[in-house]
Symmetry: C2
Subunit: 396 residues, 2 copies
């Protein structure tokens, strides 16, 4: 049957990452294409204690504290946690619990952007968010990414030439896919421009807890005197990825309307997951747990870089992240990146994500690919990087 | 600050139910306005066993079987469960796991309706779905509900006069808010009309497991030779409401595109909740558990009706549901329903939901209100109904 799908459906494609992951499920493929947190970085025993206790109390079936804004005790914890750990908030700010951080992008854009409006994005950027923006029929405009964050002249030019630019989407820490971190100077410059142009900033910080080198850089939200920044965080990287619990901090007027939108989408986030997060944060040593998780990421990233330094052709350059899950490799001009990535997965079972998956303009070219060091085992890291290293010498 | 919200935000209101529930949180109010499943109808012990075991195995942090379509083993279970319990499927059909059944309405409408299209709805109907449709800027057209389902002449007239009618939204079993069930004849008539007009049917069956009287009526999906029916079900009423796990069964082409849309919204449903559902369904006696849950609902509904029969003024009529969570009362012509509901909650702490919350045309009048019998305790049912009964004599 030929279904009469809606207009928006025509423009949607399955994510390139998901397409690649098809090759990798249940196989011997080295999973450098993945984006999962390290499985040994989660507090399994503590979560088991919480679940046991909550089940005995009947907490998971008591919906009385559950509203679209979130499970009451978790909203309270997040109101304390965000200023204590991530960024100062304004007295006018409030928080809302999300069914996964991705929902924060979805709600923010629904709140501020009408069809045909423009959203400015780092280029390259996270494909999940880009797809979410595309599915709402927004124009996407990429701002080239430099080593310390978006190019400020390019951002100024975009603001001059796009009168319908409503929002700027940024992942300032350990960006996906590049692993790069935006400098404080650029954060200040970006905020100044947003203020000048009445632009909203959507600050996505999924990896903020996973800094394993260098100095913390203040969140853009910490500069937010005017209420222009919508800050999105997540528990997925530190408590459990399957929980799909994220949070937003923003002006209370924004939060109130997000709650209405969220209620219409999925009523409220999963109660069991919210109870687990609330009790974990209030009772256990979150800071200590994050230190342990950081040590795991530090070690895995260092192992990958060490092998790359040893085995990669010097023609290939790559980022050296201070945190997060990813690093970003650039092949020399003239090299055929698509061929490189296809051969590595097809002939040698090493999966990477081609840079074309992350370009803001669909169909744009790229000389880059993304590597993940949190999902593979140490053995897979060594074996996979040696394979890629051999390929860099053979093909380039 | 005056935020430049998007066009869609102007038309959104917080749900009338949520507004009323504000009065009831943490108070002595009798919760007839609620819509929660009965708390003692859940298999708490079994869920605890599953969680313990899964945590020991590290299952909750293993994302390898999680795709936007769902957690692999749960997708498998649902593919078997739907034909075994709810409705035959076509060989071309497949299933997808939702982050709560409400998401099914959201995805179905995104898939088939473009801005300005019309969605036909039972009038009255579930406010959560109506709000979800409104937020996507669809035209809603109500089809009056009779005791055995929507009026067929009114549906025919709507199909004649609305060339942009794309979808018909129905809750055939124990409808929310009326508690009524659509007859097989009407289901057949509705399907025939859908086939004739190329209309999609969105069949929402959240309460289907909770039949406690009368005979099962085949799902509209069971008549679906052409692939026109999108069937939405849920585990919220039988395993745990806080889990927020629902499912869709539809043509595989529809499912494939829903998975892409879902990935862009929230990537995938909560893994822990999906694992709990998958293991519960595969290992425990779901049918036996549902029998026990039905007994609870049967008793609570009978208790409420018994007290109503004894204490309500004969001027008030009400439905006698064969299942589900709700019954629906109609005040006589000329009575002031809003005044009745306001007095009952403000002066006597008995919360009901005014019928105006469920009208398809916003601002339409209603002589009705909804009562829920699953959330209140037996003592609250008796006390609350006696209070309402006294009011029906005083005010009418």
């Amino acid at each position: 049957m030929e279904y009469p799908f809606s207009q928006r459906i025509g423009s949607l494609k399955a994510s390139a990452i998901r397409e690649i992951l098809k090759y990798t499920v249940g196989s011997d493929v080295v999973p450098f294409a993945a984006g999962n947190p390290a499985p040994d970085a989660f507090p399994t025993k503590e979560v088991a204690q919480i679940v046991d206790e909550a089940l005995r109390e009947g907490a998971f079936t008591d919906l009385s504290s559950l509203t679209p804004q979130g499970y009451g005790p978790l909203v309270e914890e997040v109101r304390k946690l965000v200023p204590a750990r991530y960024t100062p908030l304004r007295p006018e700010d409030d928080c809302l619990i999300l069914s996964g951080a991705t929902q924060g992008m979805d709600l923010a854009v629904k709140l501020f952007c009408s069809e045909g409006d423009t959203i400015l994005c780092e280029d390259p950027s996270f494909i999940g968010s880009l797809n979410s923006f595309r599915s709402q029929k927004l124009e996407l405009r990429g701002i080239p990414l430099e080593a310390d964050g978006v190019s400020i002249p390019a951002l100024e030019e975009a603001l001059r030439s796009c009168p319908r630019a409503r929002m700027l989407y940024l992942i300032p820490n350990f960006q996906n896919p590049t692993g790069q971190t935006m400098s404080l100077e650029k954060r200040q410059a970006v905020y100044r421009l947003a203020k000048e142009h009445g632009l909203m900033i959507l600050e996505d910080n999924p990896y903020g807890d996973l800094r394993f080198a260098g100095e913390e850089v203040p969140a853009i939200k910490s500069l937010d005197t005017e209420g222009l920044v919508i800050y999105v965080g997540s528990f997925s990287k530190i408590i459990a990825p399957g929980l799909r619990v994220g949070f937003v901090a923003a002006d209370r007027e924004i939060i109130r309307r997000m709650a209405v939108l969220k209620a219409d989408e999925d009523q409220a986030a999963n109660l069991m997951a919210q109870i687990i997060c609330a009790r974990y944060v209030s009772r256990y040593d979150l800071a200590g747990h994050i230190q342990e998780a950081r040590a795991i990421y530090r070690r895995k990233c260092a192992l990958m870089l060490e092998e790359m330094d040893r085995t990669f052709s010097p023609k290939v350059t790559y980022t050296r992240p201070e945190g997060g899950l990813f690093l970003w490799c650039t092949l020399p001009d003239g090299a055929d990146m698509a061929d490189f990535c296809t051969r590595s997965v097809r002939d040698y079972q090493v999966a990477t994500v081609p840079g074309t998956a992350f370009t803001v303009a669909e169909g744009a070219s790229s000389q880059c690919f993304r590597l993940n060091y949190s999902t593979p085992t140490d053995e897979q890291i060594v074996r996979g990087i040696r394979t890629l290293g051999r390929l860099t010498h053979e093909l380039l």
